[in-house]
């Protein structure tokens, strides 16, 4: 019938128009190749935003779009070409190694508790036991008789991945543990619940939460540089092959003295230290 033919045509037109909305390869539109899209780790993202803010002030024709989503999300988005630069806070696994990795800085993972919590020093085994579900009450650790409200990150988180590799080793994190999907939300939970414990990026520590010594070592930048504090992971920028010029310009800025100084001020460890 005529109506059916007409509608088929309409739909075909719509479908045909869709591909023209596709992003040009490399993440920028062909008109404005000064746009760089980035996505990934919630640990890396706030610092990337800061770098981007500074960068865009100095280079007003450039635009950097930053999304969060978690390290695995960033890696995925980079692999599929959805973004130009992926951000990761963990090492890549074998399947992901096809991406080009650039270390922009180093970051420690800090175990934190609420400021009302007097327990400020734990051994790595104790942390492992908390997260595996073996230790469930604060009284086992010398505090009051109250359940431990442990918080972890979601499975795709780079922070969690690094935590599992460096702290949990082969032990699984228990199913009964609460999950939050960003550094910020973990910090919020620990800051508001006196009986909570969580792990965060060192660069995000502020006076709302209290860091915990691991095996007697304070999680500080100095101790990381001394290699005394070992729970450290790289912040990576990932590109699918060589980065396009606009992206490279930004990456060079991040690796430059100015960029690294910004990161250092934030509590991260510059790439070459």
């Amino acid at each position: 019938m005529l109506a059916r033919k007409a509608t088929a045509l309409l739909f075909a037109a719509l479908v045909a128009a869709a591909p023209s909305c596709r992003k040009a390869p490399g993440g920028g539109h062909s008109v404005e190749s000064m746009t760089v899209s980035m996505a990934g780790s919630t640990s890396v993202m706030p610092f990337t935003e800061k770098l981007a803010e500074m960068f865009m002030i100095q280079n007003p024709s450039h635009v950097i779009n930053v999304q969060a989503g978690g390290s695995s999300a960033g890696i995925q988005a980079c692999l599929t070409g959805t973004v130009t630069i992926g951000m990761s806070s963990r090492e890549l696994n074998a399947a992901e190694k096809t991406l080009k990795e650039i270390v922009i800085c180093w970051d420690g993972i800090v175990v934190v508790v609420n400021s009302e919590n007097p327990v400020r020093s734990l051994s790595i085994e104790q942390v492992r036991d908390i997260y595996s579900g073996k230790t469930t009450n604060w009284k086992e650790l010398g505090w009051i008789d109250r359940g431990i409200d442990a918080v972890t990150r979601e499975e795709g988180s780079g922070t969690r991945g690094a935590f599992e590799e460096l702290v949990m080793k082969k032990v699984e994190i228990s199913d009964a543990i609460m999950v939050q999907d960003s550094n910020g939300s973990v910090k919020e939970v620990v800051a508001s619940d006196p009986y909570a414990i969580g792990f965060l990026s060192l660069g995000m520590i502020d006076n709302r939460v209290a860091p915990v010594k691991i095996d007697g070592v304070d999680p500080t930048v100095a101790n990381i540089k001394k290699k005394a504090y070992r729970i450290v992971r790289p912040f990576l920028y990932l590109t699918n092959g060589e980065p396009p010029p606009a992206a490279k310009f930004f990456i060079d800025y991040v690796l430059s003295k100015q960029g690294q100084e910004i990161l250092r001020k934030e509590g991260l460890i510059p790439a070459n230290e």
Binding site: L2, A3, R4, A6, T7, L10, F11, L14, G69, G70, S71, S72, A73, G74, I75, Q76, R146, G147, D149, E154, E155, G156, D175, A176, I177, M178, V179, Q180, D181, E188, V189, S192, D193, Y195, A196
Partner: protein, 288 residues
Amino acid sequence: MNDNRAILKDRVVRVLLAGFAVSSILFLFLIFAFIFIEGLPLFYKAGVGKIILGMKWAPTRGHFGIFPMIVSSFMVTVGALVIGGPIGLACATYLAEYAGRKRKLFLKPALELLAGIPSVVYGFLGVIYIVPVVRTVFGGSGFSLLATSIVLGVMIMPTVISISYDSLMSVPRSYREGSFAMGATKWQTVFRVVIPAARSGILAGFILGMGRAIGETMAVIMLAGNALKIPAGPLDSLRTLTSNIALELAYASGDHRLGLFSTGIVLLVIIMILNYIANFVIKRKVIR
């Protein structure tokens, strides 16, 4: 001659509108089709039973069990209904049977405005005000079934109120007058005559409220704690089907992503069943 042009125009318009209508269908069905097409293969691959009844969700390691999340979704829904249902019904009853015209004019829209508040705002306020209270008064971390149920209960109240109100109002006046004529008090009339007469509509309202609760995502992510185990009590943390999709969507790939579509299918099926039951319940009333 003018006539012919008008008729031609009419025909052209008819085709155009048909085109719009079909495009609408296609868009609408696109979403169903896509979710089902993407999600069904995993059911074949991993086995329907293993997915729906499986207890472990670790998709990167081949475990796709969503049973704990199905249970959690239901618990949160029932909890919301326990809190929002009776209060909602009470409000609807007051509005329909007791409130004068002026009050009704003010109260009804006010209660409906509750539906306009975004779920993220509910979640936020719940985290700031309800979670700490649950933690201090009852124990646990506060990110719990209880806190989630309370907030969701408030969120589904407008749905329950709206539908219950409509069904109460559609009870014929003669029912009430007959009851008064026999000497019943207002409450006796309302409680023993009007509400039972409206019960299928009220039930439908409850069911649709359930549908709303089970589909809620943002508030639940903020309030429920997202632990993967079946909650042993109202103070335990839990993860619903919706939260699971939202937490893992951004980075899931391969089978993991298919697992999320399978979760989506289960959600869709549950909600469609609820919608169907609600419609069925209402239709029964009309026939009667």
